[in-house]
Amino acid sequence: MMNIIEVKELTKVYEGRKAVDSVSFEIKKGEAFGLLGPNGAGKTTTISMLSCLIPPTSGDAHIEGKSIIKEPIEVKKRIGVVPQDIALYPTLSARENLFFWGEMYGLSGRRLKEKVDEVLQVVGLTERSKDRINKYSGGMKRRINIAVGLLPSPKLLILDEPTVGVDPQSRTNILESLRKLNKGGLTILYTSHYMEEVEFLCDRVAVMDLGKIIAQGTQNELRLLAGKMDSLKISTIDEVQMRLVEVIKKVSETDEVKIADKAIEILTLQGRKVLPKIIELLGNNSIRIKSVEVEEPNLESLFLHLTGKELRD
């Protein structure tokens, strides 16, 4: 699959300090790519350079082959940007805001009206579109903020922490909408310091800290990097015979199996794959299960493993 964006050695220096330090990555067409990192990691600066808001100190990035340095207007025609802040006119209605931004993206006439109706439907705010933005809840404002980014029918949608300050229900709505758009073929570059959001939405992830990408790959690849195994803890109603240890080891493809009366603890690299087989094995041996607990290493533990600090530090 072809790359829609190629970032090479992108660097931004502010007053002698490298806010972004030689960042490189590619995003394939139709992919959802996450930039994960704590506040101050350099995510927004990276996004700002890719959106042609600020020029890089060195390096370059190409979006559909167009350079952010040499052809910023061509780049801007191909992207939709959803900034971290709610960049809308509070005294205008959602519809008036969308019409204005649509015109700034070069839309007009019937095409503009159709597009405004379409994005309102995508973010589920058609009914409230005539209300002023300052009458909206935080979550609704965020949804219109995203709708503006969708107006130009972008090849790449860049979102910079689009769920900051919204309630859990609105966050779920936003993430579901974005996943739906991604499944529909929209390429997404998503930054966040919320590990769960990136895990939910993104196929591949780059982890940033202090201006640098410290790891990137698919979620599974990154988990393996953390050097931790999945932990399966199964409590049973019936006693588990010691004779089953060897069978479980074989099924789990691991030697790390402990049995104590009515409990089994397994450490494996493929917890999700192994679990159904273990449940089946116990059933065949007439051992009833009381509870199952699965603990997987996540991006949080990866970040901890790589930097020695937590994502929200």
Partner: protein, 408 residues
């Protein structure tokens, strides 16, 4: 590019006028202030008509007709002078108490009747000219000249006919025919007996100009002040835009920076221009201030003044960091420079050094220009210096604003 500039400008207008607070500051407050302060400072009824001295020495009827025609003009006030008051009238014109003085000679009607050239005298003071008045007087003279021609023509024709019929035309009858023909004179044209007009420019030893008072002073004064405040508030709105990041977001759309800056400035300009027009209409229609003497002159001054405050308003938005700062500076700068510039009281009554300081404010040049039009009935030539100075201020401030414009 132009389309996007217009879209940005009209969006700024929409955002500004959507805010009820802005409407109060832009329209309601200026109207209330203009009316209140104007009414309070009015002395003796405030006659806003242009005073024209009229000395009629004519022994016939045409001098009176001349006066009658001029009296029908709403924007001027005829001050009739006795025949031996010529010196008094000359002094009044010198002192600019009268905008012009008009002298109709004793043989005015006689000469018209025998189709001889006759000269009327218009007195005006040095540096004080009103094309409106001059045009009005010339038009009236021309009209009377044509009427006289028609009357001559009619009497002559009737006399010829009577000769053929061997009937005599009596002198009384001739007079009656003259008057009737005079009324119907519009049907006849050249060659008309010419009425020469001689302008006598009187040197002014001590310039004691007409000082505008009442609504005549408050209408342009407060319009100028509140327009500056309005445009500065638009600058505050841009600081808020920077804070809301809508300005930065504009840069993520495929729009050139120059188009964004131009659109924003055009928005500021339109806010000021619309506000000014509303205040002028209010002054003209409700307060009966004579804004309509020289529409082109008013337009030139309004455009150049609003351009200059657009530059200053944008500069303000560039210099300050927060909207609270911007709001405070908007009020402070508008109030102080307006006081200095003569918006609150006639600049003529303040000490000379304050008058010199006033020249550094755009308000001074705008108000001075409006006074020339409204109070003194001056022409375009006299307001051109004001226009040029305002244009210079506009150019400098707009260039500085563009140079230092910030999106973040």
């Amino acid at each position: 590019m132009i389309k996007k500039v217009l879209v940005i400008a009209f969006n700024s207008l929409k955002v500004t006028f959507r805010d009820k607070g802005n409407l109060i500051w832009l329209i309601i407050m200026p109207i209330v202030w203009t009316t209140l302060i104007g009414t309070m400072s009015t002395t003796g009824g405030g006659d806003e008509k242009i005073p024209v001295g009229f000395l009629n020495s004519d022994r016939g009827i045409y001098g009176e007709v001349f006066e009658e025609i001029l009296r029908k003009e709403e924007s001027i006030k005829i001050v009739a002078m006795a025949e031996d008051d010529e010196d008094k009238m000359r002094n009044s014109v010198k002192d600019t108490k009268l905008s012009v003085g008009l002298i109709i000679p004793g043989d005015f009607s006689e000469k018209l009747k025998v189709r001889e050239q006759v000269v009327i005298e218009i007195l005006k003071s040095q540096g004080n000219s009103s094309y409106f008045l001059e045009e009005l007087i010339e038009k009236t003279a021309h009209r009377i000249s044509i009427n006289a021609l028609a009357a001559n023509f009619t009497v002559e024709k009737i006399s010829e006919r009577r000769v053929v019929l061997e009937e005599e035309v009596l002198e009384d009858e001739k007079e009656r025919i003259w008057e009737e023909a005079f009324v119907k004179a519009d049907a006849f044209f050249e060659p008309a007996p010419s009425i020469g007009i001689e302008y006598v420019v009187l040197s002014v030893e001590k310039r004691d100009e007409n000082i505008p008072i009442g609504v005549e002073a408050s209408s342009p004064g407060f319009a100028v002040m509140f327009v500056m405040m309005g445009v500065c508030f638009a600058g505050v709105a841009m600081v808020q835009e920077r804070h809301h990041k809508t300005l930065a977001r504009l840069l993520t759309t495929p729009t050139e920076k120059f188009s964004i800056i131009s659109g924003k400035m055009l928005g500021f300009f339109l806010v000021g221009f619309i506000q000014f027009m509303i205040l002028i209409l209010f002054g003209q229609l409700v307060l009966k201030v004579n804004w309509g003497n020289l529409p082109l002159g008013v337009l030139l001054l309004v455009v150049s003044y609003v351009l200059s405050v657009t530059g200053l308003g944008t500069l303000l938005s560039v210099v300050v960091r927060t909207s609270a700062q911007a709001g405070a500076f908007a009020v402070l700068i508008s109030m102080v420079t307006s006081m200095l510039g003569g918006a609150w009281w006639p600049i003529e009554i303040v000490p000379r050094f304050m008058q010199n300081i006033a020249r550094f404010t755009p308000q001074y040049w705008a108000i001075n220009g409006f006074n020339k039009i409204i109070t003194r009935g001056f022409g375009i030539t006299e307001i051109l210096p004001n226009f040029y100075v305002l244009l210079a201020i506009s150019t400098i401030s707009l260039l500085l604003a563009i140079r230092f414009f910030r999106f973040e």
